[in-house]
């Protein structure tokens, strides 16, 4: 017997496919444009004559003999030591994620299991601090940091970033912990766990999607931060984002802008890898709190 396949009307299929393709194109275009352009020289990518130069690259051919050049990458990574800011970024992000998650899981769990009313006000207070623009915090920190002579060091920036990030991690993990039934900790405690053992051996394993999602958001905050790292770090301790900004700032020297473009591409690539690697956990984490299992 022939089973007739139910089909959607053709115009609808065409329309929706076109829409999705168009949307993907628009969303991906800036990134593709930047990746492509990062292999050109400045006179092509920022050409005043025609934007087509950025695609074909006649001046790149004229200057280097090939349509693609790694000069931007060479300048950023070798001449201007972008590598050390990569290391700084790794130190800052890893520290921020680890510290935020440690305090966030412990605090979020305590708040979720506490029966007292003050937990609500603590969370509200956290929300207020989270809503403040980062720059207000940083400007307040500057003077005391100078006086205490701790300005410019990585740990200082890490502490400030954790302080900015912590309210958010608390909120997020708090709601994840709320979705885990209390019976689970209680049966663990009757089975012979202390409160902390119940947390570590029973609750956290169930919490992984939530921890990973929250960790990813913490990572992104630390990775993308500009206000804190630009104001609180000395030149040699700079992370990637303020470093890229400093490439752009010295626009008089030819080629420096291309260092920035190449650095931007270098800084974005790991994000793709990360999101693709964790996408399953992120999606399940984002929806975990929504529907009770």
């Amino acid at each position: 017997m022939i089973v007739k396949k139910r089909r959607r009307p053709l115009p609808l299929t065409v329309l929706s496919t076109t829409f999705v393709l168009l949307w993907v194109l628009m969303a991906a275009f800036p990134f593709i444009w930047t990746v492509w352009g990062s292999f050109k020289v400045e006179q092509d990518f920022f050409s005043r004559d025609s934007w087509w130069f950025a695609i074909e690259g006649p001046r790149t051919i004229a200057q280097t003999g090939s349509a693609f050049t790694g000069d931007g990458y060479y300048g950023a990574w070798v001449l201007r030591d972008f590598f050390s800011s990569v290391v700084n970024t790794i130190i800052v992000t890893v520290s921020v994620v680890v510290i935020s998650l440690t305090f966030g899981t412990l605090g979020g769990y305590a708040l979720a299991r506490s029966g007292y009313r003050y937990t609500f006000w603590l969370l509200m207070l956290a929300l207020v601090f989270r809503a403040m623009p980062h720059i207000t915090l940083v400007s307040g920190y500057l003077l005391p940091f100078f006086e205490m002579n701790i300005w410019g060091h990585l740990p200082t920036a890490i502490i400030v970033l954790v302080a900015i990030n912590q309210p958010f991690t608390l909120w997020m993990l708090h709601s994840f912990f709320l979705s885990i039934p209390k019976d689970l900790d209680e049966s663990a405690m009757v089975d012979g766990c202390s409160r902390f053992q119940a947390f570590r051996m029973v609750v956290i394993p169930v919490m992984w999607p939530g921890v990973i999602t929250t960790g990813l958001f913490s990572f992104l905050l630390a990775y993308n931060d500009f206000a804190v790292t630009a104001m609180l770090l000395s030149q040699p301790n700079q992370t990637m984002v303020p470093k890229i900004a400093s490439f752009l700032g010295t626009i008089q020297q030819e080629g420096n802008v291309m260092f920035a473009v190449a650095a931007v591409v270098s800084a974005t690539a790991p994000l793709f890898v990360l999101v693709m690697f964790f996408q399953r956990q992120i999606v399940s984490g984002l929806t975990a709190g929504a529907v009770k299992g």
């Binding site: 049966s187 663990a188 009757v190 012979g192 169930v206």
Partner: protein, 354 residues
């Protein structure tokens, strides 16, 4: 094994009293059921014994230890939760093994103990599954298996059957009863289902609003309810309660006159009798009224009557038939009647010779 003693235990939240002055000795190996409507404090009492809730007042003793300030893990009890509380990331085997693991039982004993518990709850075929891949009844058995895998001083069970369907409830009930008999461990069982209480218990504690109403064997509680609350809570249908007046041993209510009761009371009382103790008769009897509804139960027929604002049910043989609206008479001999104080609801004791 251990007996459990609760000495004047109370639980308060601000000015709300959850459990009021709970005083009871539970013998070693006893199967005690806490029975009452929701919100009566039975689960709170159990959680205080487990150590999951603090005790506001009083003392709890497990064997010869006062456990008020001990953590749950140090009380040597195991508990079965209503929602099972299984660890979703572990297999059935790991779930049952978990108490052994955290209590640092020597590793070489684990397998044998887990398998023994799994055999008792008939889960040997499911050991590699995760709780999500099990049915409700199987999950409940995992929770039971986890409770029995080490020999605790006492089992606590918090409405373990209420999430199961009716048929499974009956078979699991029998299984729990048998397990307790085999293991000979003091068991406290919380339920709002009076049939579970009657079938399982050595002794039943009926609670209402945080106060013990009556403690006794199931027969005691069924045959001699201490007050109108117990009378109306136990039994299906509950005991019929009729308000009226008594004088010289004769009770008079709307459509009902019963002679030969005790003569030591006078004035308004509540009279109670069980549906199955009374019988429908064609003529005479102590009671006559129009049938309000007829229910066929299969093994019996239940006739209901409206007396004042109360419904009175009387059971009859399964062949008995009457139409709604027919006038029917019933024999309610004095010997099946219980008298309760109208104001306090407390049972009025029979004097000797009545």
């Amino acid at each position: 094994m251990a007996e459990i003693r609760l000495k004047n235990v109370s639980k308060r939240w601000h000015n709300f009293v959850g459990v009021n002055n709970f005083d009871l000795d539970i013998a070693d190996r006893e199967f005690l059921v806490l029975l009452g409507p929701s919100g009566c404090g039975k689960t709170t009492t159990m959680r205080m014994i487990a150590g999951l809730d603090d005790i506001s007042e009083g003392e709890i003793w497990l064997g010869d230890r006062m456990v008020n300030n001990l953590e749950p893990k140090d009380r040597d009890i195991s508990m079965v939760f209503q929602s099972y509380g299984l660890y979703p990331n572990m297999t059935v085997y790991e779930n049952i093994r978990f108490p052994l693991r955290v209590r640092k039982v020597p590793k070489e004993l684990h397998h044998e103990k887990v398998m023994q518990a799994a055999r008792m709850v008939e889960l040997v075929d499911f050991l590699e599954r995760r709780p999500a891949a099990l049915s409700g009844g199987q999950r409940q058995r995992v929770a039971l298996g986890r409770a029995i895998v080490r020999q605790p001083a006492a089992f606590l069970m918090d409405e373990p059957l209420s999430n199961l369907d009716a048929k499974l409830r009956v078979s699991t009930r029998a299984q729990i009863k048998n397990l307790q008999h085999t293991l000979k461990v003091t068991t406290i069982y919380v339920t709002h289902d009076q049939i579970e209480a009657m079938t399982l218990a050595d002794r039943v504690v009926v609670m209402n609003r945080g106060v013990i109403q009556q403690v006794g064997t199931p027969t005691d509680i069924y045959d001699n309810p201490a007050n109108t609350f117990v009378a109306s809570f136990i039994g299906s249908p509950a005991m019929n309660l009729v308000s009226g007046d008594i004088e010289n041993g004769t009770f008079r209510g709307p459509g009902i006159t019963i002679a030969g009761l005790q003569t030591n009371v006078k004035g308004p009382v509540t009279l109670g009798f069980r549906a199955e103790d009374a019988s429908l008769v064609s003529e005479g009897g102590e009671f006559g009224a129009e049938v309000y509804s007829m229910e066929l139960l299969g093994e019996a027929t239940m006739a209901s009557f409206r007396i004042g604002d109360q419904l009175v049910s009387i059971k009859s043989g399964k062949e008995y038939r009457a139409e709604i609206g027919d006038v029917v008479h019933a024999a309610i001999p004095a010997s099946i009647c219980h008298l309760f104080d109208t104001d306090t609801g407390v049972r009025i004791a029979r004097t000797p010779g009545n």
